[in-house]
Amino acid sequence: MFENKYKVFENIDLTADEGKFIGLVGPSGVGKSTLLRLIGGFLKPSSGTILLEGKPVLKPSPKLVLIHQSIVTFPWMTAIQNVMLSLTPKHLPRDEAREIAARSLETVGLQGFEDLYPKEMSGGMRQRVAIARALAANPTVMLMDEPFAHLDELTAEGIRQDIYNILFNVNFPLKSVIMVSHNLTEVLELADAIYVINGSPATVVARIEVNLPRPRNPKQPDFDRYLDTLYNYLTVRRRPQ
């Protein structure tokens, strides 16, 4: 709830099960990014609780790591230094931190690019660095806020094809991913379950289990059916309270 008593959400109940990639879709301005930041502990809910493995989330922590819509790297650090940043709180020996960071970069396909500065990389490579940095923190849940929005379609498609296998790689203890997106095709390509939020105040209008085989392809026969379902939920007019 905002300071002016404007209620943003009502009756929101989301669950991200182990091993699941959760999509979160909704019309522009409905509060998707706000919801993601509430889950991450960046914002405090005026009522209700966020639980991670049964314990309340009270502040941001590396267990719930956020990947931003605008791709965040530090221009004064090389790719590997950017990744090592997430290992700083652990006070690991430098060599060990470097090794873990290199492994993360390798996982996202950036082996050999460790010493490049962000300015020397494409947008897609930078987002891979950001993902590697998040993975190196050993998160339990990864929160992704429209992570491909600033990439061109070909690059985004390339990362999308890799991302599921990267995220649920056995080398990382990641248990779940929650991704916000307004791109329905993208969400359908990746998610195991999709929450649709809509209305004002926003509420969950549907949870859709996506039972499409992987790797997914928009040309699959059922793909359009899912798209239509999502589209219908999103275009239903809900009267503001």
């Binding site: 965040v72 530090f74 962000p118």
Partner: protein, 541 residues
């Protein structure tokens, strides 16, 4: 009593009127000069280099010479008045001119093209495009300019050269009269009235700054924050800050510079265009010639024996300058320490910021030379019990600090505020400690701001040293004086009427400062622009 209060009010108004009037003149002249600068490469080079040089040489160091020139050239109270006005003008003008030039230089290409498309005249372009675009930058630069203006006017309203004393009507001269007659009550009333007027001016400037940002700042300046949909108010507030920040736009400096090569090629007769193009370089060359002629006049008026004398004392003067650089380094380090801790605290704590920032702005605008003698009087005994024979040194460093810490503090605070929101979230997310945040993210991200603030702090520290290193009769019959220091040499030489030595010391000082500015500050700024522009770390299509 009523008469005395009316006199004080009139004096404070005269002082404030001088400061604000001269700032206004700086703003108006800056618009035209900046426009000519962006239209002519030759004029631009001369203009920018001149600004950089004059900005880095503390005006107070050449005030005695300026005073004599005005007094002997014009004479009487008008000569003294113009000398004081000139001193304050040179204290406030560079900052404002530089801000306007940077704003004009970074007007978005699309806006320039619209102006050209509709064939706007010079005045129309200024009125509709350039001036509105420069308003937020001017609003931001008004705070340090007002502080500088009050600082220098406070010390220039009463001034001695040799056994001659000069003064103009203002709070400085009225206060001097009360101090001489020991009228404590009126001293207090003067300080309170001056304080109230400064608080009022700062409050008005803050309102103006808010208005300037809300009306004239462009959304397109803030591509990073516009995406942060979850907190619109926060994004709007930050966009205001970033719109005030010259460095953000300087990142695009070269691109815009190149794009401006596109000019109106149609309809205007070629001869007329050529004539117009000649005006700005002509002004630039004329400025250079005037400076060269003045230099020639000075050099030729000094006898050979005097030149021998001046060269013989030069090594000692350079050693004195070294002492001063050590003092400046200490002042800068303490100011940075203050800025990093207090500035960061304010940047992340809204309640503290709402109170702390206006308080610091008002405090920094309150001229230290006015109230410092009373601090000296009150704390002399306790400070001397701690510092012993270094008591005067401690007071001088303290004076330097209170008259200059503001610049690095404000720059750092602004740098933290302008840092991409995503960086703040990431630091929280990774659970970095305060030291880790500072070392890995905040100090690098604010490096360009820090360098700019440190540079201003260094430039202003000289003013504090100039006043403090030798201050006869600071209060009662007490004198504040350090053992060694070039500013002290200039002060003593001025007081004893040895203007030649004062001028030579000022000249040497000017050369060293300019070299320092070019070889250190400029290199650091280049590094900052090359590697530490935080906005470049945020990728968006």
């Amino acid at each position: 009593m009523i008469y005395a209060i009316a006199l004080i009010l009139a004096a404070v108004s005269a002082t404030a009127g001088r400061v604000l009037g001269l700032i206004l003149i700086s703003i108006v002249t800056g618009w035209f000069l900046s426009y000519y600068a962006i239209k002519s490469r030759i004029f631009e080079s001369i203009y920018v280099i001149s600004m950089e040089i004059f900005e880095s040489v503390p005006v107070i160091s050449f005030f005695p010479i300026v005073l004599l020139l005005f007094v002997s050239g014009i004479g009487g109270s008008l000569g003294v008045e113009l000398a004081v006005d000139f001193l304050v003008f040179t204290a406030v003008v560079w900052n404002i001119w530089m801000g306007e030039y940077q704003a004009f230089k970074t007007v978005p290409k699309e806006m320039v093209e619209v102006g050209e498309n509709y064939k706007l005249t010079l005045m129309e372009k200024l009125q509709k495009v350039y001036i509105p675009f420069s308003i937020p930058r001017i609003a931001a630069n008004l705070f340090p300019s007002v502080s500088d203006g009050f600082f220098y006017i406070a010390v220039s309203e009463v001034f001695s050269v040799g056994n001659k004393s000069f003064q103009v009507f203002g709070v400085g001269s009225v206060l001097y009269g009360y101090i001489s007659s020991g009228n404590v009550e009126m001293i207090e009333v003067s300080l309170i009235i001056l304080g109230l007027v400064i608080v009022l001016i700062i409050a008005l400037l803050r309102e103006f700054a808010k208005y300037a940002v809300s009306r004239y700042a462009l959304d397109t300046d803030t591509p990073v924050f516009r995406r942060g949909r979850f907190n619109i108010r926060e994004a709007a507030r930050r966009s205001g800050i970033i719109a005030l920040n010259p460095l953000t736009r300087l990142a695009n400096y070269n691109r815009i510079r190149r794009s401006r090569a596109y000019t109106d090629e149609y309809y205007e007769p070629e001869a007329r265009k050529r004539k117009r193009r000649l005006i700005p370089p002509a002004i630039g060359i004329a400025m250079l010639l005037i400076l060269a002629y003045l230099a020639y006049l000075i050099v030729s008026s000094v006898s050979l024996s005097t030149w021998y004398y001046l060269f013989s004392v030069t090594p000692d003067l350079l050693m004195d300058l070294l002492y001063d650089y050590i003092r400046v380094a200490i002042i800068v380090l303490v100011s940075m320490f203050f800025a990093i801790f207090v500035g960061y605290y304010f940047a992340v704590n809204r309640k503290a910021e709402a109170v702390g920032i206006p308080a610091i702005q008002a405090f920094s605008a309150y001229p230290a030379p006015i109230y410092f003698p009373f601090i000296f009087l009150g704390l002399s005994l306790s400070v001397s019990s701690i510092f012993g024979y270094l008591t005067d040194e401690a007071f001088v460093l303290f004076l330097g600090f209170i008259s200059t810490f503001y610049y690095v503090f404000y720059s750092f605070w602004m740098g933290v505020k302008a840092m991409p929101q995503e960086y703040s979230e990431l630091m929280k997310n990774l659970d970095l400690t305060f030291t880790q945040r500072m070392r890995r993210v905040i100090l690098p991200a604010t490096f360009p701001y820090l360098i700019s603030g440190i540079s201003s702090t260094i430039n202003s520290a000289w003013g504090g040293l100039m006043i403090g290193e030798y201050w006869p009769d600071i209060i009662g019959n007490k004198t504040l004086s350090v053992g060694h220091g070039l500013m002290k040499v200039i002060d003593v030489a001025t007081n004893s009427g040895n203007i030649t030595l004062a001028a030579w010391a000022s000249f040497l000082f000017g050369i060293v400062v300019v070299f320092y500015s070019f070889f250190f500050t400029k290199k650091m700024m280049d590094l900052a622009r090359r590697k530490y522009v935080a906005e470049e770390g945020i990728f968006s299509a």
